[in-house]
């Protein structure tokens, strides 16, 4: 039995944990943003999934380089996929991909601004808002939320990805300084990243408190900025504002439209696998769902989230849930218990995939192959899983 002094000594000797460096979400294809995946995520979150057994409409607000909407359009020829981004270069990239893969069901909105009807009077079954709400100004943010709220079909699902306050709030002042300097730089555009990095290096060497004495900021600078690809520094940190948001803020914005939180599109996020017993106990005992999510983010310093919402919260009874889960088709070897932690882990790890609910059209694989060839990265578009590997 240890005495008090020994316990105190032991506490003092506890090594500080290394800082959790925030990383932005990848820019390419993301299978957790496909309708097939979101259908499974909604179901595993205990809610009635959207009806994807018939031709559906999906909208991508923040289409990025277009790979995710293009994959969805390629493997679901009978569905209408609509894409928009506030970044003009991303709109252009998506259009080029669509043209290269001849995806006639992918509509890329090229005019400036976000149309209130998302390009159609037909409602959407799935809407994905990726990397938008944590960047744009208050007015555009309100427009996006209004467009989502008024274009989603009752029972439809929404997935919002964003950089969290927990992950990025300490980074934001440095990023703001970087962007301020880059925007006013009058030198050769090729050298702007170097000049921004030089300033940061000077501050670091001179002992600037915010940069030197904050473990997360120092580690992020070393790993992401000084140790990162200059092109990525430009894209991720100099091109746009950084306005990280929290889960609670998002819920507050979406709640007036009847959008209810289902769970994370990253299926293991809700399992708290990376936290110790004491934190797990606190998360479980949190006095409200919003506090629980806040504690979860703080517990692991979660940098990004992919939150799934359903228009009209409808939790399934255990009987209904079992019926749906047994009907859920999965590729590859998987545990028999569809509600198990193991299943979520395997899905998240990419070992298995949910299969497309909509029977794939005869020309789907041809289109998928064409898109695979058009995307100059190592992904293979697969019609059977309504996604890509």
């Amino acid at each position: 039995v240890q005495g008090e002094a020994e316990v105190e000594a032991a506490i003092e000797e506890v090594e500080p944990l290394p800082p959790v460096v925030p990383h932005p979400d990848p820019r390419g294809f993301r299978r957790e943003l496909t309708p097939t995946w979101l259908h499974a995520a909604t179901l595993l979150g205990g809610h009635r999934p959207p009806d994807l057994s018939r031709p559906f409409r999906a909208a991508y607000l923040g289409c990025g380089n277009g790979q995710t909407p293009a994959v969805v359009a390629a493997v679901h020829p009978e569905c209408e996929i609509w894409a928009w981004d506030f970044r003009l270069n991303q709109v252009e990239a998506t259009r080029r991909l669509r043209d290269a893969a001849e995806l006639d069901n992918l509509v890329v909105h090229e005019r400036r601004g976000l149309p209130a009807d998302l390009g159609s009077d037909r409602l959407c079954d799935v809407i994905v808002v990726a990397g938008v709400l944590d960047v744009v100004n208050d007015d555009l943010r309100a427009q996006v939320i209004e467009a989502v709220g008024s274009n989603l079909r009752p029972g439809g699902v929404l997935c919002v990805t964003y950089r969290t306050t927990v992950g990025w709030v300490e980074i934001a002042p440095v990023q703001r300084l970087m962007r301020y300097v880059a925007q006013r730089d009058t030198g050769d555009p090729e050298g702007v990243v170097d000049r921004v990095l030089d300033l940061l290096a000077d501050l670091q060497e001179g002992g600037a408190g915010y940069i030197v004495h904050r473990p997360v900021v120092a580690a992020w600078l070393a790993e992401e900025v000084f140790g990162g690809d200059p092109a990525a520094v430009m894209t991720e940190y100099l091109a746009d504002d950084m306005r990280p948001i929290s889960h609670a803020q998002l819920v507050e914005w979406l709640d007036p439209f009847g959008l209810a939180y289902v769970g994370s599109a990253r299926l293991t996020d809700d399992l708290d696998l990376d936290v110790n017993d004491e934190l797990k106990e606190m998360i479980d005992a949190a006095p409200s769902p919003l506090v629980r999510e806040a504690y979860r983010d703080i517990a692991v310093r979660r940098a990004t989230r992919a939150d799934v919402f359903r228009l009209g919260g409808e939790r399934l009874s255990s009987i209904q849930s079992n019926e749906y889960l047994s009907a859920l088709k999965l590729s590859g070897e998987h545990p028999p218990d569809r509600d198990s932690i193991g299943l979520r882990v395997l899905l998240d790890a990419g070992a298995i995939d949910p299969m497309s609910v909509l029977p794939h059209a005869p020309n789907a694989q041809v289109r998928a192959d064409r898109l695979s060839a058009a995307i100059s990265e190592s992904i293979v578009v697969a019609a059977d899983i309504g996604s890509a590997r």
């Binding site: 002042p173 703001r176 301020y180 915010y210 110790n276 919003l290 703080i298 517990a299």
Partner: protein
């Protein structure tokens, strides 16, 4: 916690009642001059507006110490406005008016209060209200600040508070789930959130300035903490955010009200001095400075249109700057806390200056003449140190000639009377400074006893103070430790009474309090 009409601001517990000397015209005037701008003119009745005046105590301080100034306070919270009027009426201050009005109402109705203000202050508001209300506030400044007028905006900065944002949100969400009144709900929430760190949540460790705030969560006055953390819109901001908006309202950053703001060397370690000195972009330099020292709050001074005075005019304004002593004793070898850390100052230079302040006021010209070879800039540095270290405060020229002494006395008597009924005021209005100075409970009660006719006798006043402490079930605290032993408490109180009596016959006379 918050109500439908509160727009996310905590309204179920009143805000604490700080007295903020930085809001007073003399302090703002000094800051303007030290940044090469003209002082606030004394050629007409100054219109001074406090936007978001809270319980009005600071506005009343300005009104009492500056009877020739017309003071206006706007606040959307009826509880605050009622309290502000109670203080103003209690001290018979006829030069201040409090109006219950939202920021939107003030921005849309120019008939509410003066339309041609000389000074607009926004203290403890900007980092805690919604972006919509922030825009309304800057619009009020645009509409009402006359050309050449000064706007003071205090806010918490991201460089010293960013890590507290997720923690504040967790506290707020916890308090909402709790459902009790904010101050009670805060205490429970703080205990729970502190456990996250103890349980090694990966969000920790956070920045040093925030770590200190975090560790103090459960020790804070819970009413204060509820306002600090439980509002829906708590968001520290960066300097350039506000400066850019103010610029769009034709208000230019003139400098900070911090007394050491004009002293370049205290804002960076030597290794970064050149970098900052060669940064010609004013906004960038301030952002860099804030990152270097992890600045927690800013007290920025904006001017509606920057003046371009001649060097002669600048020198004239500088030489007219003067300070009055606050009665603080100089201790050789003690360090001054500045943005870059603890700094030792030259005892041989500063001790005589502080000693002189016990006898007389000092102008910048006096300080300049103190040592041969000293420049006006050197003297301004010395003056900044004297104010920053609490030895002196800017002097209001001609304060003796008006009714400031009597109006300040009325407000001080009211504060002391409230302390006798359980209040917790820790400041006295000092007409010579046009503001308030820090005071402590025993000192205020000593003064109250003298003013109510108790003989100038240490024993009698000590007994009187101890009686009040006992009646209010308050304990004396010495160096942060509660003194529970009655005899020890008497010794401590007696010592403080002696000191208070000394100050009443010395510094307080010079300050116009007695």
């Amino acid at each position: 916690m918050t109500a439908d009409w509160s727009d996310g601001y905590v309204v179920d517990v009143p805000y604490i009642e700080p007295l903020t000397p930085e809001l007073c015209p003399a302090r703002l005037s000094m800051a303007a001059v030290l940044h090469n701008q003209p002082p606030i003119p004394d050629s007409h009745t100054i219109q001074w507006i406090d936007v978001g005046s809270g319980s009005g105590l600071s506005a009343c301080m300005v009104a009492a110490a500056n009877p020739r100034i017309s003071v206006w306070g706007f606040d959307f919270n009826p509880t605050h406005v009622e309290r502000a009027r109670e203080i103003a009426n209690g001290a018979a201050l006829d030069n201040c008016t409090f109006v219950e009005a939202s920021f939107a109402a003030v921005a849309s109705d120019r008939d509410l209060g003066p339309s041609d203000a000389d000074v607009i202050v926004v203290h403890g508001v900007h980092s805690w209200v919604s972006p919509v209300n922030q825009r309304q506030i800057t619009e009020i400044i645009r509409q009402r600040l006359r050309p050449g007028g000064l706007a003071y905006v205090m806010y918490e900065t991201a460089t010293g508070w960013s890590s507290m944002v997720p923690i504040a949100e967790a506290l707020r969400l916890h308090a909402i789930a709790d459902g009790r009144r904010s101050d009670h709900a805060f205490e429970e929430a703080a205990r729970d959130v502190l456990r996250l760190a103890e349980a090694r949540a990966r969000y920790f460790p956070i920045g040093d300035p925030e770590s200190l705030q975090f560790q103090l969560l459960t020790e804070r006055n819970s009413s204060y903490a509820a306002h600090e953390y439980l509002g829906s819109h708590f968001r520290p901001v960066m300097f350039d955010e506000l400066a850019t908006i103010m610029d769009s309202k034709a208000c230019v950053y003139a400098g900070s009200v911090d007394a050491s703001d004009h002293i370049a060397g205290v804002w960076s370690p030597p290794e970064l001095t050149d970098l900052l000195a060669h940064t010609t972009d004013l906004l960038l330099r301030q952002m860099l400075q804030d990152l270097v020292v992890q600045r927690q709050l800013r007290q920025d001074l904006y001017r509606r249109g920057l003046a371009a005075p001649t060097p002669d005019a600048q020198r004239k304004w500088m030489r007219h700057l003067a300070v009055v002593g606050l009665g603080k004793e100089y201790v050789d070898g003690s360090a001054l806390t500045l943005p870059i850390g603890q700094v030792r100052v030259d005892d041989e230079f500063y001790r005589p200056l502080v000693d002189r302040l016990t006898e007389t006021t000092l102008s910048l010209a006096d300080i300049e003449a103190e040592r041969s070879g000293m420049t006006l800039g050197d003297a301004a540095t010395a003056l900044g140190f004297l104010v920053e270290a609490g030895f002196a405060a800017p002097l209001v020229n001609g304060w003796e000639t008006g009714s400031a002494v009597s109006s300040a006395r009325r407000l001080n008597e009211l504060l002391i009377a409230e302390n006798l009924r359980g209040g917790d005021h820790r400041a006295l209005v000092a007409p010579a400074t046009g503001a308030a100075i820090e005071s402590e409970y025993v000192e205020m009660l000593t003064l109250g006893a003298l003013w109510s006719g108790t003989p100038d006798d240490v024993g009698a006043i000590t007994s009187h103070v101890l009686e009040q402490l006992t009646r209010q079930e308050r304990l004396v605290r010495e160096n942060g430790v509660l003194i529970e032993n009655v005899e020890e408490a008497r010794i401590v109180v007696e010592r403080r009474v002696r000191r208070a009596l000394d100050r009443a016959q010395g510094a307080f006379v010079q300050l116009g309090i007695c």
